[in-house]
Symmetry: C2
């Protein structure tokens, strides 16, 4: 199937003109030219048939379609995109596919896009800034119709590059202050408020926070936490907000490490709100390792409501960020951008988070607000 010197597909082959010598000798898929030669018509005729142009006689159409099927012809979408300026391709950049939040977003994005005939290509940056820049370059180079970015390490420079390139884009999860851009995400301050309010309601008084990185929704979640503590006249004790120095910010390991530091403090916290669920899982691990109990000694709540949260050693309370809806909204927004004749004003969609109570924070016998299977 590799070095297949294109055989004449017709009885009397036209003398082919000088054939470009390809650098790598490789496969040669069937093209419209082959079919045209076979049938003794022009390529345009084939093209018209395939695009359901009404310019073609029923007979020709049938002959073409028959041959197309027979040869298992597939249009070269790259070539088509080159001419039409429309690839029906939408790119998604995420920091980590192993993080269920992003996998779920990808899933719902894809579902909506496919319905409209668009196709999602996913790219994971592994939380690496340089790699992410490369991947975005790649994606822009493929001339996508739009780009959806859920990045943990997007720089303003890169964003400017995208803007200049002219590809419309939607940010999700993390927004850029100052730059008006299309954005879909959850109200992160509300996340902080909800979580903190809940812990307070459960009777916690010394509430700590494992924060997210500087350039992340973690900043607003932190604000929500601080404001709520202030509102209830509860002090935030020294070092009760973890420093985020770890590189691998999303991980359980960083949660575990930060929690260990918290445990060494006096007085020890009786509740912890974590930036996300993996960190909460790590935190719970550290607490259990130290011989304490969750939630009796320390209540824990995360954010993201990852799908296996109910199945953990200590079923994890979490703030649901409506991942699926984020994906759907982002998809619809992206499609709107693609189909717009002129660039619409940037639109910001902010969803309200909701609380999901499970064992990790059910300290008192208050009935949980949300029921879980």
């Amino acid at each position: 199937m590799f070095h297949r010197p294109k055989p004449p597909r017709t009885a009397a082959p036209f003398p082919r003109r000088r054939q470009l010598q390809r650098s790598t000798i490789r496969c040669m898929p069937v093209t419209m030219k082959d079919i045209a030669r076979d049938l003794g018509v022009s390529v345009v005729t084939i093209s018209k048939v395939l695009r359901n142009h009404d310019d073609i006689s029923e007979e020709t159409r049938k002959r073409v379609l028959a041959r197309v099927k027979e040869l298992n012809y597939r249009p070269n979408l790259a070539a088509r995109g080159l001419v039409t300026g429309h690839t029906y391709l939408i790119g998604l950049v995420v920091p980590d596919l192993l993080h269920p939040f992003f996998a779920e977003v990808a899933k719902s994005l894809s579902r909506v896009l496919l319905k409209k005939g668009y196709y999602l290509i996913i790219s994971s940056s592994e939380e690496d800034e340089e790699l992410e820049a490369r991947e975005i370059d790649q994606l822009l180079g493929r001339s996508l119709d739009a780009l959806v970015i859920a990045s943990s390490c997007l720089t303003r420079d890169i964003l400017r590059g995208i803007e200049e390139h002219g590809t419309p884009y939607v940010l999700i999860d993390r927004r850029f202050a100052g730059t008006p851009a299309n954005y879909v995400g959850v109200d992160d301050e509300a996340v902080g408020v909800l979580a903190t309010e809940h812990l307070i309601e459960m009777g916690c008084r010394r509430i700590a926070h494992l924060r997210g990185p500087e350039n992340s929704p973690g900043v607003e979640r932190l604000k929500g936490y601080r404001d709520t503590m202030a509102k209830h006249n509860l002090p935030i004790l020294p070092n009760y907000v973890s420093e985020q120095r770890t590189v691998d910010v999303q991980s359980r390991e960083s949660g575990a490490e930060s929690m260990r530091q918290l445990l060494a403090l006096k007085p020890r916290p009786d509740g912890v709100f974590c930036y996300n669920d993996p960190m909460a899982m790590g935190a719970i691990n550290s607490i259990l390792e130290s011989g304490l109990k969750v939630p009796e000694d320390i209540a824990v709540i995360g954010s993201g409501n990852i799908h296996y949260a109910p199945l953990l050693r200590v079923p994890l309370s979490s703030i649901d960020q409506h991942t699926e809806e984020i994906g759907e909204r982002a998809a619809r927004l992206a499609l709107a951008l693609v189909e717009a004749k002129t660039p619409p004003r940037p639109k910001s969609i902010v969803l309200q988070p909701s609380l999901v109570v499970r064992a990790s924070s059910s300290k008192t016998r208050i009935k949980p607000r949300t029921q879980e299977k």
Copy 2:
């Protein structure tokens, strides 16, 4: 940035020839033509500079590079691929990105490929046969250099289509009997053997199996299970192998449902080997719901060793399938195919699985073979 009627970028613009009217009026990224016009040289010169051709004077090179940077030019990779027949694009088709196995494979695949300058595009079929066919069509249409397929619902027809199209491909996780193809996966019979042997060693005698779907590695795992039971002269009681009628075969729900049926049997099993970890998680849920204990009443072992297996309500024993290595090997194999001048003979890489013992199967006080944090 959208309807930008391409402005003359030079002082004395050449009268542009009839401009193609694009159907959708959209952005217009910078092209080599723009730079060439600016600098008063031909596009070929630009192309040569960008490809480090030694045909260019130092001065011109500098001028070109400066302008390239200034305009933030990005080569159109689709156009380039059209001419060179080499896209540096490798596609991956997985049934479900939420399943950590596939996300992990994607991760390690991507890591290896990026090092070699190749770029991975991921596509998830959501376990839907029709959708998968569409996605593969899409990918083939984009003229990838190679395709890696981890499919749960690949048909022989689709495979033939890929073959005819000429794109080299590597199957992972699931192989096709009868068709010799490039393949990377784990020794699935050994998975069944390892799991079953372990349960027997733990003292189980009435061991059941939640099997995977018909066209999946589940078949070989079942065989391993059967053979091992036979080897130890243990009977497989009636209905001890779950029927797989559920659509959503990979899911916890199907595991939970099958387990409920097993629990109704008399005598009840004292050990269960599950096709994969999500099913095992579902099974454990059902067991606990019924008031029984894991592993005391029923030991459970899964396969895949998903990363959060140690953190589950009952930390899950599992057979490790060396996911990362599968990804790496598949990447290397794919690269070999791309770079081969002639199609090499299909190669089959089969890895040996290993046992990871955690609480869900530590029935007796035998020291676990593998230690886990």
